[in-house]
């Protein structure tokens, strides 16, 4: 970085350009007292942008500014204009190296990840438009060696530092969905959940993969051989239950189970018989949890108790809604389940649990009261809310 004596604008290569100062009112508000380097570079940049100079030195100048402020929207956008204009494959590839350096300082702002997507769209094209753009780049000398594997490895490195990094998970979903590279994703989430069973981002990614993967074999949702007939549906429930055995207060696993029970019939095939068995298993599991919690006492099991009872109440109510045809009407599964179950009795059982939860979980008392009212109006009163 230039010392005070050698501001960029004082160097010979910028001699032809007069920096444009930032407009500031007579009485400035929320005025940032910039470092000299920063306002000098920004002054040059404004001059370049006004001139519309999309050159190599413009690219360099955006780098200088981004190292001082990686959240400057306008500078990133100008940088992409320059890159587009230079139309060089080498330049676009070098962006990943540049991003790597910027990431050394910071990985958390929208601009960084938006730029990363823009770069990948150029160097790893998937659509006809992107391919055409890619093939029209000046080839220069560098061969594209940035692969999907490298991109996913980069993300894994980010997760090493922050396993719940929101931008990085969103980016991973974008990459995986776009390039249909589903193969490693279930393993990744399994490993990350094993390492930290409370990592809700990993649970969410697991759900994303289950719901969106396009690599399921035809009729291939039957589990491994050896006479085991558990389907993907059952295996997934068992995985969550195993996690809950170790940490019964883990909300991530409970919400995953609830979501999975009511959403997965839309993307996995599951018979009414199998579904009933799983619900039965979960009911038993909750009973065991309640007994264990009663024996052990203590704060952790109390939290586990709340999560478990809340889960039971939810399942009862959400199932009752479907059995009454009030929700998710199009799915035959709910009709097939109906004969064995009584929605009104289920709703009443849910209400009893929410009444109990009002005392066990005072901070959410208002919500339990609201749920009771909802169940009364929707199922017991059968109003179409």
């Amino acid at each position: 970085m230039a010392s005070e004596a050698e501001l960029l604008s004082e160097q010979p290569e910028w001699a032809d350009l007069a920096p444009i100062p930032q407009r500031e009112g007579v009485e400035p508000v929320v005025q940032i007292m910039y470092d000299k380097d920063y306002s000098d570079a920004m002054g040059l940049l404004r001059a370049l942008m006004l001139k519309g100079e999309l050159s190599e030195r413009a690219l360099h100048l955006t780098s200088v500014v981004i190292f001082m402020n990686s959240a400057h929207v306008t500078v990133w956008e100008f940088r992409r204009c320059v890159l587009s204009s230079l139309n060089s494959k080498m330049r676009w590839l070098a962006e990943l190296e540049f991003m790597h350096e910027v990431n050394e300082m910071n990985t958390k702002n929208y601009q960084l990840w938006n730029h990363r997507r823009a770069v990948l769209q150029v160097i790893l094209p998937t659509t006809p438009v992107e391919r055409e753009r890619n093939s029209s780049l000046r080839a220069d000398t560098m061969v594209s060696d940035h692969t999907l594997e490298k991109e996913l490895a980069h993300l894994s490195a980010v997760f090493e530092a922050d396993s719940k990094h929101y931008h990085a998970w969103a980016h991973r979903q974008w990459v995986v969905g776009r390039h249909k590279c589903w193969a490693t994703e279930m393993e990744l989430t399994k490993a990350m959940i094993a390492r930290d069973v409370y990592n809700n981002s990993a649970w969410n990614h697991r759900f994303f993969v289950l719901e969106n993967r396009t690599d399921r074999r035809e009729g291939g949702d039957k589990g491994g051989g050896g006479g085991r007939e558990e389907s993907e549906f059952t295996l997934e429930v068992l995985h969550a239950v195993q996690c809950l055995e170790r940490a019964p207060e883990n909300e991530s696993a409970w919400t995953f189970l609830t979501g999975f029970l009511f959403k997965s019939p839309h993307f996995l095939s599951v018979s009414a018989k199998e579904y009933s068995l799983v619900v039965e298993l979960l009911t038993k599991f909750c009973k065991v949890q309640a007994m264990a919690g009663g024996r052990k006492g203590g704060s952790s099991s109390a939290a586990g108790g709340v999560k478990c009872v809340s889960f039971e109440a939810n399942i009862l109510y959400l199932l009752a809604l479907r059995l009454s045809g009030l929700e998710d009407e199009g799915l035959p599964l709910w009709g097939d389940l109906a004969p064995d179950l009584d929605p009104r009795a289920q709703a009443q059982a849910a209400i009893a649990k929410w009444e109990a939860l009002k005392g066990m979980d005072a901070v959410r008392r208002a919500a339990y009261g609201m749920k009771i009212r909802i169940a009364e109006e929707r199922i017991l009163g059968s109003k179409s809310l």
């Binding site: 910039y34 929208y110 409370y198 979501g259 109006e377």
Partner: protein, 430 residues
């Protein structure tokens, strides 16, 4: 064996419980000290009764309000070089400061000469006791014209506001600028907004086809996510723009696809449920009257579980740590969902979360003696967290509160400021 995040959580919880105990003692002492003051105020009679629901009087002693006001004022004029990372967010800085100040009872005088100053509002509970120190700080603060001129300098002829002068228009800074205009100068100030160009800007930012149809990109070449949907709708509300010029149906469908299996919303379809995006999603739907397009029950389930029993505050995602800014994002979301149900039941608004628990978190764990509020113990106070902590606190007192004592759930500006610009009749400021 406890994992890292588990250990962190436990360590923080222990710290918080300790703080809570100390904080409660401190608060009792404060109350005892202030006992004489509150008695003398209450005998003033009717004037006090009308402000008794005001959250400022309920939460803060005079010294505390003044400390927070001074903290906010420190951001209004000049900021240290360290703030360069917010160089593209200056309208946000202004919004955080003036919104926080307005919730505390400090606002610009009415009038349109431009020379108007920041003063205590008529309802400010310690009106008669403003210290000399604060009076002179208010006197030194930029006047109304300075704020309006600055915001004006961020507007681009092609529509929208950038993060500073000579910067690209961004939907987020457009929201921040318009909200700040309403707070600082009311209806008169909105005259500077080129409404036709704003509409054109939004129209250009909306995605026309493909997976993201109906969503918005935050700026030309920028990312597409949930924030932009909400921010565009909120700006339309504040400017009184009918949303017919946009593909509302497409936007609603995009939002619907962002509801995760947990019930909250992610920034994009498939992403993890998150407090900020969930607020944006449901507030955007509420602004266009399409709350029923999503699974309301699952949303209630998710958001009510974000308030944490030990800390009292809200976290942003399942199993993450509590952060005071979610006092507003999740707090107002749970209010919106609750109001939506109550409307269906034909019932009045009711308390939607545990108000005392949230107050304990914000006031005992996130408040600093020197002014300002922070994310959580161990972090420094900042304007963003001060703004959203105060917004969240005001929710605790919203039932039955007068408009000037609460924030609007959908735009997050004081409700009286919003209704002032929403009234059709032209008001002239005297």
């Amino acid at each position: 064996m406890a994992t890292t995040s588990e250990r962190e959580t436990l360590a923080l919880r222990r710290k918080v419980v300790g703080l809570l105990e100390r904080g409660k003692r401190r608060r009792r002492e404060e109350e005892e000290e202030e006992g004489s003051v509150s008695v003398s105020v209450s005998v003033e009679g009717t004037k006090k009764a009308s402000t008794s629901r005001c959250f400022v009087a309920s939460c803060f002693s005079r010294e505390r309000v003044e400390a927070h006001v001074r903290f906010m004022l420190s951001g209004l004029k000049q900021l240290s070089p360290g703030f360069a990372s917010l160089d593209a967010s200056r309208p946000w800085l202004l919004y955080w400061v003036v919104h926080g100040l307005s919730l505390l009872g400090f606002e610009y005088e009415r009038g349109d000469t431009g020379g108007e100053k920041l003063v205590p509002a008529a309802w400010y509970p310690y009106h008669e006791e403003v210290s000399e120190q604060l009076r002179s700080a208010l006197e030194r603060a930029p006047n109304k014209r300075a704020c309006l001129d600055f915001l004006g300098s961020c507007q681009n002829p092609s529509g929208g506001y950038g993060g500073g002068p000579q910067q690209l228009s961004h939907i987020a800074t457009t929201y921040a600028a318009v909200a700040a205009l309403v707070i600082v100068g009311g209806k008169g100030a909105l005259e500077q907004v080129d409404k036709a160009a704003t509409k054109e800007f939004f129209r250009k930012m909306q995605v026309r086809q493909g997976d993201q149809k109906g969503a918005f990109t935050v700026h030309n070449g920028g990312e597409v996510d949930m924030r932009a949907c909400y921010l565009a709708m909120a700006v339309c509300r504040m400017l009184g723009l009918d949303t017919d010029f946009l593909d509302v149906e497409g936007m609603v469908e995009y939002i619907r696809r962002c509801q995760s299996y947990e019930g909250g919303f992610g920034g994009e379809p498939g992403n993890e449920a998150h407090g900020g995006y969930s607020y944006c999603a449901f507030a955007a739907l509420s602004l266009v009257g399409k709350e029923d397009e999503v699974d309301l029950y699952q949303l209630l389930e998710w958001v009510s579980n974000r308030q944490q029993p030990i800390e009292g505050g809200f976290n942003g995602r399942t199993n993450k740590l509590v952060d005071s800014c979610y006092s507003f994002w999740q707090g107002s979301l749970v209010c919106l969902v609750s109001d939506c149900y109550n409307q269906k039941f034909g019932a009045d608004s009711c308390e939607a979360f545990h108000s005392e628990a949230l107050q304990d978190w914000v006031l005992l764990c996130c408040q600093l003696d020197d002014g300002g509020l922070r994310d959580k113990p161990g972090t420094n106070p900042d304007y963003y967290h001060t703004c959203y902590s105060l917004s969240g606190l005001s929710l605790c007192f919203r039932i039955g509160a007068p408009d000037e004592g609460k924030t609007d759930l959908l735009c997050n500006i004081r409700a009286d400021k919003l209704s002032e610009v929403m009234t059709k009749a032209v008001q002239s400021f005297v």
